[in-house]
Every structure is written in structure tokens, then in C-alpha cells.
């Protein structure tokens, strides 16, 4: 793959910013939901839906598409927003998040919305589903890749380590795991609640190829996804170091924003902050 041009990087960055704004708008409309995780993963989901994934928003069931499984279903607003921006459904539908009758369930459901690939929410079960999918696809000689986005905190679930063993044993090289290493979980900071480090060594010892990236550096993340395609004997995991709540100073790095939405008043200020890209753009017209 050619390196990204400056224009491409600019466009992706602007798109990530727009996706963040959609996330804020949908959470305010919903009146509940998770804020920090979705904002923190906006750059990665932008990279996935606008550069990495081989997919067709007009045909979400296309058989040869790459599959993206979201294990930590609670950050689904970022996925919904990225899907809407990519053309899966109208962006306005994002405002139905968590509402009665909506396709955008509080946690994603496969049968409700084409393209979400699987149902998730209870933590620690995404990687094993992705591994089963990857195993089955390899049996049939399929060329598409399976991506699995996970949180760092959900690595406290035993099921996830079972999946790491399984994928490592079976050398599922068509599988790329992506960890949102944002260091927070509901009750506090991961290393205080139940330490996860050394993450890299743990994955390596389970037979994985491990890459670490700045989760807000879109070109770096895309390059890691490319490198994973060149690893033939192992599954790859990309540990993406992210800032929870990235893009809005008040939310950044504060675990108390894990599971609550902004109020209407807060949202106005946050959207203004996003429009000026944290002050990088001088003139702001309300």
C-alpha cells in the first residue's frame, strides 16, 4: 500500500472529528451510554471504515468483505457513527441510538443492523467469536480478514485468554486483534483495579505477533494493519495506546466518563471544541 498523502491524512483526521461530533450528538439524544471509549476509538474506527476494511456499505452482506467484530459492545456508538459516515445508513439515524424500535441498540445486535457482524456487550467473548470465524473461513480458503476490536479492561475476563490460546495454537494469521489500551475501566484505572501489564509479553507468550501504535496516529495504525497482513504464521494484535475521551479536554483521561453521556449544555461546549479542533482553528461561529 502506498503511504498516505498529506491530503488523505487531513481528510481522515477531519472525518474522525466529524465522527466524534456525531458521537456526542447521539449520546445526548440517547440520554445514556458510554462517552470516553467511543471518542477514544474514533481515529481507529475512521481508519478502519475509510481505509483498512475491504467492505461495501451498500452491500453489508457481501460475502468477501472483511469482518470487523466489536468485542466491547459498549463502545458501539463509535462504530454506528463510523458506519453512518461510511454510508451504511443515514447519519440522522444515529439519533435513534438506544431508543425504542431503533436498529441502533444500546449494545450491538447482529440481527438488528446489517454490518455489525455479531452481538456483543458481555465482555471477553469477542475474540473467541472472531477466532471461530477466522478458523471457519480458513477451512474454506477465504481470503478476507477478520478484525476484532477489544477493550483493555475486558482482558480481565477468562474467556479472552482462552481465545488467545486458541488463536495462537491454530496460528490464525487471518485474524487481527485491536486493543483499545486506554487504561480506564468503570471503577478506575486498569492497573489499580486488576493489572494487565505486561500486555505485549503476555500476547507474545501466547503465540501472537504484537504491534504497538499511537491510537490517534492514523497513518501508524493503518501501517500496523498492513504489517499484520504480512504475518503468515501467527495472529496479530495491535495494542493501540489511546486517550479515553480524546478530542474533548474535559473528558480526556477521566475514567468517570466511561459510562455516562454529556448533558445538553456540556454537549454544546464539546461540539464547539470539536469544531475548532481543540482551538487549532481560530474562528468559531456558533
Amino acid at each position: 500500500m502506498q503511504p498516505l498523502t498529506d491530503t488523505e491524512v487531513y481528510e481522515l483526521t477531519a472525518r474522525a472529528n466529524a465522527i466524534r461530533a456525531t458521537i456526542i450528538e447521539m449520546l445526548v439524544a440517547a440520554g445514556s451510554g458510554h462517552t470516553a471509549g467511543p471518542l477514544g476509538m474514533a481515529d481507529i474506527f475512521t481508519a478502519l471504515y475509510f481505509k483498512v476494511l475491504n467492505h461495501d456499505p451498500q452491500n453489508p452482506e457481501w460475502e468477501e468483505r472483511d469482518r470487523l467484530m466489536l468485542s466491547n459492545g459498549h463502545i458501539t456508538p463509535v462504530r454506528y457513527a463510523a458506519m453512518a459516515h461510511a454510508g451504511y445508513f443515514p447519519i440522522e439515524e444515529c439519533l435513534t441510538l438506544r431508543k425504542f424500535g431503533s436498529r441502533l441498540q444500546g449494545h450491538p445486535e447482529r440481527e438488528k443492523l446489517p454490518g455489525v457482524e455479531t452481538t456483543s456487550g458481555p465482555l471477553g467473548s469477542g475474540l473467541s467469536q472472531a477466532s471461530g470465524y477466522a478458523y471457519a473461513a480458513r477451512m474454506d480458503g477465504k481470503k478476507f480478514r477478520i478484525y476484532c476490536a477489544m477493550s483493555d479492561g475486558e482482558h480481565q475476563e477468562g474467556n479472552l485468554w482462552e481465545a488467545m490460546m486458541f488463536a495462537g495454537k491454530n496460528r490464525l494469521s487471518n485474524l487481527t486483534g485491536i486493543i483499545d489500551r486506554n487504561n480506564i475501566q468503570i471503577d478506575g484505572y486498569t492497573e489499580q483495579i486488576m493489572p494487565l501489564e505486561p500486555f505485549r509479553e503476555k500476547y507474545e507468550s501466547f503465540g501472537w505477533h504484537v504491534l504497538e501504535v499511537d491510537g490517534h496516529n492514523i497513518p501508524q495504525f493503518i501501517a500496523a494493519c498492513e504489517e499484520a497482513k504480512a504475518i503468515y504464521e501467527k495472529p496479530t494484535v495491535i495494542i493501540a495506546h489511546t486517550i479515553p475521551g480524546k478530542g474533548i479536554r474535559e473528558i480526556e483521561r477521566d475514567y468517570r466518563w466511561h459510562g455516562k453521556p454529556p448533558s445538553k449544555e456540556e454537549a454544546q461546549a464539546f461540539l464547539a471544541e470539536l469544531r475548532t479542533m481543540q482551538g487549532k482553528i481560530a474562528s468559531e461561529h456558533q
Binding site: 467484530m69 456487550g121 458481555p122 467473548s125 473467541s128 467469536q129 471461530g132 471457519a136 482462552e162
Partner: protein, 330 residues
């Protein structure tokens, strides 16, 4: 008299041959594998005792050894089913669906993918292993789950047919199987359909109908036969599919007899008896007596001795029938 349409074993009352229902699974899944290349089998370090090994030997490329990891097995199977395979995943029922219930709920039932949960060594008759391994709550926890079908075969032949039917259903299914050799009541010609209860034994003037599931159906048949000889008419219905329940047959038979006994190798709470009581309380209330385990764990012992101790033997079923008959309203 035995229902002639079902082409049951002629020696059903006279020392019939015996085989474990898990053998029926092993044969059924092998046949299913021959018929459909999408069928895959997973096991959690129990390839021999789950009878997965027959499939594994013929189709090693479609057999997956998961190690001792039932949560992972359920979710890997969910992923495979989501892709388009037909996974049967096997362990002991205490571990699967016991340990991995939430994984099954979210990634198979709610996700609505056609993975098949195959719980072996179900019931108290696993015997010497003791209470930890005697799964007596699986029907309750699985029938409460939307999208899930629950099957409990009465003998090895019905288990084989249920497994074949499960491969073709396109839906999530839980099947429970037993470890011990139990009487073979059905033949290759006995029809099987998921969701259909079958009247195995008719009385001319039934005073009680027994609804039984699993291998204890044989004890129910023996009880009815003996009571018939003593002059009390008793029908016996095999309820192999506990969910969805064959409501039409159950209500019709309860209406005809006026009193009901349920028989299952499972806790009374939440099992077949509960399922039938739910329907009859609404559709046609009649007295019901329950044969099963009454809110206790099992213990080590010989399977027959445990069935007797926990009051699921022929004499206990007969007592329950007499109690039900005495409570009839007419």
C-alpha cells in the same frame, strides 16, 4: 397398547437392548457430517466420552479440540456458526451449558446462529462422579432462553435422529444426553420431528397421562404397564422436545385423562414438569404430580441406586400416578 404407528421395539417391556444416548449422538453427528460438509464438531478435552471421536476419526479436518475451555468452545462455535458452519460442541452438561450459559445466551441465542450445544452425562445417572457432575438444572436454564430449542432424547436411536434433525434445523439447539446404557425403545422406523410429542402407550380408558422425557420414559412405560395390569388405564407420552412444547398434544391428552404425572431426570423446578404445568394451568388445569429431583443435589452411587434413592424408580412413578388419579375431579 403400544402405538403401532410409532413402530416401537417389540421387546420394549421385556429386557430390551440398551445403549447410551450419547452413542446416538456420536452416530448421528457422523451421519450428519457425511450429509453436510458444513457440519463441524468441537470438544473440550472429552473426545471419547462425548462420542465425538467417531466424527473426529472420519473428518479430522472438521474436528476441533478446544482443550478444557467451555466458554471459549461456545463462543468459537458461535463464530463458526455465524460464518456458515453447523457446529456441534460437546462437553458434559454441567460445564456446557452449565459454565458457559451467558456465552450461549449472548453469542448463540440472541445472536441467533445455528450452533448446537451438546450436553453429555446429563442427569443423576452419571453416578459415581457425584453431585458436581450430575447436571440436573440444564433443562431449566436452557428452556428459559429465547430462540433456543431444548431436546432430551429417550433412547440412543431417538438421540441419533434428533442429532440429524438438529443439523438441518438452522437454529440454536440444546440437546442433553446420558452416559449410561439405557433401554432402546424406538426403532429406525420410528418417526421423529423436533417439537412433536408422541403417545407411546394408549389405555382404553385413561385415568392418568404420564409425560416423560429422556431415558426415564422406560420407567414410565413399565409403571403404566403394571398399573394397566392392575386395572388402571394410563397413557404415556414421550416429550422429547421440551421447547418448543407440543402444546396441542399435551393439552389434548391432559383433557382426555384428567390427571397428569411428569417424569424427568432433572430438578422439578424449571424442568419438563414446570413447562407442562405452565401450559396446563392456562389451557386446561388438572391435578399434576411431579417425578424428578426435589430441590437437592445428588451424590456418588450406582445409577440404579440413585434413581431409586431420588424417587424416580418404577414404584415411585406408580405412586405418583395413584396420587394423581385420586386427585382427579371426575
Amino acid at each position: 397398547m403400544l402405538n403401532p404407528e410409532l413402530k416401537l421395539k417389540e421387546n420394549i417391556f421385556d429386557h430390551p437392548d440398551a445403549a447410551p444416548t450419547r452413542d446416538g449422538f456420536g452416530k448421528g453427528v457422523l451421519e450428519a457430517g457425511r450429509e453436510d460438509p458444513r457440519v463441524v464438531v468441537l470438544t473440550a478435552d472429552l473426545v471419547e466420552s462425548t462420542r465425538s471421536e467417531w466424527f473426529a476419526k472420519e473428518f479430522p479436518e472438521r474436528f476441533i479440540e478446544m482443550g478444557v475451555a467451555e466458554q471459549n468452545m461456545a463462543t468459537v462455535a458461535a463464530g463458526m456458526a455465524n460464518y456458515g458452519k453447523i457446529p456441534f460442541f460437546t462437553s458434559y452438561a454441567t460445564f456446557s451449558p452449565g459454565r458457559n450459559w451467558e456465552q450461549i445466551r449472548t453469542t448463540i441465542a440472541l445472536n441467533n446462529v445455528p450452533a448446537k450445544v451438546c450436553g453429555m452425562h446429563a442427569g443423576i445417572s452419571v453416578g459415581p462422579d457425584g453431585a458436581t457432575h450430575q447436571m440436573l438444572e440444564d433443562i431449566a436454564i436452557m428452556r428459559a432462553m429465547p430462540n433456543m430449542t431444548v431436546i432430551s432424547a429417550c433412547d440412543t436411536e431417538e438421540a441419533r435422529k434428533a442429532t440429524l434433525a438438529a443439523a438441518q434445523s438452522g437454529t440454536p439447539i440444546y440437546m442433553r444426553f446420558g452416559r449410561e446404557k439405557t433401554p432402546i425403545m424406538t426403532t429406525v422406523d420410528t418417526p421423529f420431528e423436533i417439537g412433536k410429542a408422541q403417545v407411546f402407550l394408549y389405555a382404553e380408558n385413561p385415568q392418568v397421562v404420564i409425560f416423560a422425557t429422556g431415558p426415564l420414559l422406560h420407567n414410565a412405560l413399565l409403571s403404566a404397564k403394571q398399573l394397566g395390569d392392575e386395572g388402571m388405564g394410563v397413557d404415556v407420552v414421550n416429550v422429547a422436545t421440551i421447547k418448543p412444547l407440543d402444546t396441542d398434544t399435551i393439552v389434548a391428552k391432559a383433557r382426555e385423562a384428567g390427571a397428569v404425572v411428569t417424569v424427568e431426570e432433572h430438578q422439578i423446578a424449571g424442568g419438563l414438569g414446570s413447562a407442562i404445568a405452565e401450559i396446563l394451568a392456562q389451557e386446561y388445569p388438572v391435578p399434576i404430580e411431579y417425578v424428578g429431583v426435589h430441590d437437592s443435589f445428588g451424590q456418588s452411587g450406582d445409577p440404579k441406586e440413585l434413581i431409586e434413592h431420588y424417587r424416580m424408580g418404577v414404584s415411585h412413578i406408580k405412586d405418583a400416578v395413584r396420587r394423581a388419579a385420586s386427585r382427579r375431579h371426575r
